[in-house]
Symmetry: C2
Subunit: 704 residues, 2 copies
Amino acid sequence: MNSGANSLYPLLRPDTVAVIGAAREPHKIGHQVVRNLIEGGFPKERIFPINPYAEHILGLKCYPSILDVPTKVDLSVIVVPARIVPKVLEECGKKGVKAVAIISSGFKEVGNVELEEKIVRIAKKYNMRLLGPNIVGVCDTIKSVNASFCQSLPLRGNIAFITQSGALGIALVGWTKMHNIGLSDLVSLGNMADVDQSDLIEFFGDDPETKVITLYIEGVKDGRKFFETCKRVTVKKPILAIKAGKAERTVRAIKSHTGSLAGSDSAYNAVFKQSGVIRVPTFPDLFDWAVALSISPKPLNNNIVILTNGGGAGVMATDAAEEYGISLLEMPKDLADRIRKYMPPFGSVLNPIDLTGMAGREWYRESLKELLRDSRVGGVIVLYCHTAITTPREIADAIIEAVRTVGYCKPVVVSLIGGEEVIDECERLISNKIPCYDSPEKAMAAMGAIIKYYSDREKILSRKYPRLNVDYEKAKGIIEKALKRGHKILSPREAAEIVEAYGIPVVSKKLAKSKEEAIRFAEEIGYPLVMEVDSPHILHKTDVGGIIVGVNSREEVGKAYDDIIRNVSEKAPEAHINGIIVRKMAEKGREVILGMHRDPIFGPVIMFGSGGILVELLKDVSFRVVPLSVEDAHEIIEETKAYKMLKGYRGEKEADIDCVIDAVLRLLKVVEDFSEIEDVDINPFFVYDKGKGGIAVDVKIILS
Amino acid sequence: MNSGANSLYPLLRPDTVAVIGAAREPHKIGHQVVRNLIEGGFPKERIFPINPYAEHILGLKCYPSILDVPTKVDLSVIVVPARIVPKVLEECGKKGVKAVAIISSGFKEVGNVELEEKIVRIAKKYNMRLLGPNIVGVCDTIKSVNASFCQSLPLRGNIAFITQSGALGIALVGWTKMHNIGLSDLVSLGNMADVDQSDLIEFFGDDPETKVITLYIEGVKDGRKFFETCKRVTVKKPILAIKAGKAERTVRAIKSHTGSLAGSDSAYNAVFKQSGVIRVPTFPDLFDWAVALSISPKPLNNNIVILTNGGGAGVMATDAAEEYGISLLEMPKDLADRIRKYMPPFGSVLNPIDLTGMAGREWYRESLKELLRDSRVGGVIVLYCHTAITTPREIADAIIEAVRTVGYCKPVVVSLIGGEEVIDECERLISNKIPCYDSPEKAMAAMGAIIKYYSDREKILSRKYPRLNVDYEKAKGIIEKALKRGHKILSPREAAEIVEAYGIPVVSKKLAKSKEEAIRFAEEIGYPLVMEVDSPHILHKTDVGGIIVGVNSREEVGKAYDDIIRNVSEKAPEAHINGIIVRKMAEKGREVILGMHRDPIFGPVIMFGSGGILVELLKDVSFRVVPLSVEDAHEIIEETKAYKMLKGYRGEKEADIDCVIDAVLRLLKVVEDFSEIEDVDINPFFVYDKGKGGIAVDVKIILS
């Protein structure tokens, strides 16, 4: 099957469309699709209804089979019952059709896995791309293709919308029209037997008609493909996604209605962050932000200024800025002085700039011009509460004039607050490429999306990947030996040796097989010591009395050895004991955790967070999927509260954060090199003061 | 000045209105107010324009002074320049007017404090209530009074809106009209020289025309009055508030690190929680939720069921339920079986119940009837994605029919997702008292507000206040002595004795004035010990080497004594040393912090959270203003992460939470009894396993 994005051209920009299962009865979907194509404005002479029992449908000539159509067919829309789909698909293949959209349901979503596999095989055989089955269809406003049972096409525009929920797709056609939002395409994904989110993202990434890609996601099938595709596309244009299934309950609901396997939400979050996809909370936000990104220029920098005629609206916007992490410019004195001319004496030149309720067209225009001209201002939020002093029309004029005079060099996002009288002006601003909303919070949220997109993009473009020297052979040897013995849980000693081979310092330890050996090792390592049981069957050593700390002399070593053996024999009689590990008691540092697990969808996920006893209490952890760039290694640390602890607070010195970053990257390398490793847990990892490094105290590794 | 809510009757429900400063020129506010009154529908014969230079304004007879008006005047609206306000106010007083609304600006907001004080004195003298100055005016739809410069009245309704931002008020008149939301009143507060939020809340609380009170707050002047008023009113009707200024930092002297954690926004939050006021993030939410609360019945219980025809919408609603902390009913088998009849085999009877895109009027109606009849269902969210199968009209009919048949016994909140075609149906549902929104998240948020209001109300009604035995005299003696000496920072020993007198256990300690005394006390108390300097000038003892732990023998006591004296003399040479405290080294427990500080607006605020070194890292603290009920003492603990730690995790035993609740209530009592205390900080307080109590290790008290 051709998997390039270009192979979707016949699916999304077809010149000819056949409807297999076209029907004369108006209540049937096979009828509605033909009608929708005609009413959507697709040229009638290039629509081919297929129905062996009809001569004409809606005035179009009918063909008994697709094989009878006299010309080339780009897209076949299939609406026949599920059991007949394989037969008509074979015919499509023979006809040389390169794209099919299967609206019919009755496949995997009702447990009919075999039938779905069969149609995938047929499509593959003929090198056809297959959308669906179980979809609403495809709406393409560029070529006026309403190959769906949506009653009408969306408005023409440059936002592509890819949805995993058909019903939501249909409903949003109406919703976007009502809000005057144009789409280039609306594609319903259905069961994703072949074409999936990634294929469509790739296509729209290259599509000159699409400026912003929006998604409603319940789950992706191929996590790695999704990740790689998004990384490539977000540097070209913004991708915004609603990802449903934050709540555990929701994951269950998704399973019940799509049967799809949901990866963990934290893995999705990591993928979005690392690939520059902006996660959006609700569908109104999705389109609000998409519109802003589709028309707005890049911010000059990340410092925003708020211009308002109402203190209240300014305060709300300030709160929203805090919520979205948007920095507000400290107004430089010279700029403040220039703007002071356009307000009464009781106005404010702090940020928010309050022109007061007396502000009209001129003050708005002139102060906005000053803000546009000043390169210290990254972007401007203009707020207007409708007053009796002036009209929304005058304010919209002022904004448009200022932007035209100075040039549209940075984002200007507006909120006109009022009744019916502001709606037209809001739309006029948008058609002048100035995003406009009905509340200060929405304006600030849209500005937040603009800032986030461009700063994420810069980060992705400048990412560097680490090069590290490691002892691959040594680690490989340990893993192979363990696998041969059939041990999935590596002993602490083996685990320690593997990460040590990869350059992560580990507390020095030796495995003693006898009391005498323990004493000898103790004398070599030096006191104080920790002694602990080494057994592949014991994960939590404390629980079985398998660990004793603060061992200070020969005598104590002997006693500890006996105590551990006795404790473990009593509490875990079936555990095989390899021996007793004698290790240096490390000076206590700040405790962090490093780890890795495999997500069913996205593969290896690296974790970092507060360690020691705090792990389960705080759940202060952050995640990244592999590969991590050096910047990711910084970010995974900076996102946590542990970072604040490492930076030092209440007069504490800064800890050796570089050594933690290094350890994260080395752990990453272990995971990349050995797909046999299922799970790594380094906890605690002690971090010492800056320049003094850090050390892994306890390392657990589980093989798959 | 009469401060009862009834005294606001002439202000908000006037029968006659004078406009002092009425003008002939259409651009003047004095003209607009007269015009707005007439156009708003207030009887012309009861409007009295006052202007010595005009005979008629807008066809109404003008009077030179209010003293010339032949009948009684309920409300005087004043629009003359600020400097003339005192004069006309005197005349109002003499006329016997009981309410004035001063639109004029030029008072405190521009620094003219004296003039504002003067008008307050005049109003007081004549027992007049005064709204403003510096307001937009008052809009009352009940008596059709548009005594403002808002161009029109809001739609008639039963939501009162009180705003501290005039511009926002004007803009929201239009906004609420556009969204078909009715208000009983819109009141702009201005400078609040007399009438404030609390007065208006009290009035609307008793007003039969008002069902829900909404507020836009920037700050209240009298925090205690606000708190007490809200507590009284929320049990009668819901209060919803936007509180702006989350990001604003209230400047406050940092006397100990306890105080540094509590900005005044946390005091507002505490007040809202304790008084049952629902804090709302944005103004669209404010009115969305207000509408829901104004028409919806009480939930039967807190378990909600989602009914949908689109899996995607159901998933979004489920995520939103998680976000708003709404519990979704685990569907009982018998109920599920009854509903299964109204869906195809591939539908889902889990919650969300997915009727699938095939659902029409009958399935919606019948399944909703089942949900309404079942008492295990507390409320229902009905979602409809507009499909080709049916119309929004049919679904709205289905919902209305179900509610009519079974009875409106629990909240039914709807989201119709689609375009223009759903708007009318949404409004029809609302006029049938069924809240309806355009997105699943908004529907769930509104349901959350309904649940929150009724459960908070129940909590407030059932609150109990504690009775405790304490040794008031002893604590009083210590405080008086300290005050006499002029010490604001109590010594650790004095602080410990005060909280001990109030029944909070404190680690036993004695103050040694000499090395010999230290040794004697040590032998009495028993080892191991902690020794620390007692000085009113040293807050952080560790920083000056003023504390030594793990002192185990006579010899060590002597050495520690000398070391501390030497360390402190070197590092804090100017500190007066009372002596050295010798205290039992307490067995380490789980560490929490208890504290109190005084908020400039709301008075004493009690704090609880994770203690020890975690205080500043986690900022895991929760606040309540006094008085706290027993339930508040539970909640302040349950809101924190520390609670999870106290409950025990990873196999740990539960800690003695009762002893923490007791300590919170006893600390509250200390604070209530001694207004001289400015700040208390008990950190750490060690909590032992259940039944084993807890103990305060370090107590700091600062007097004002």
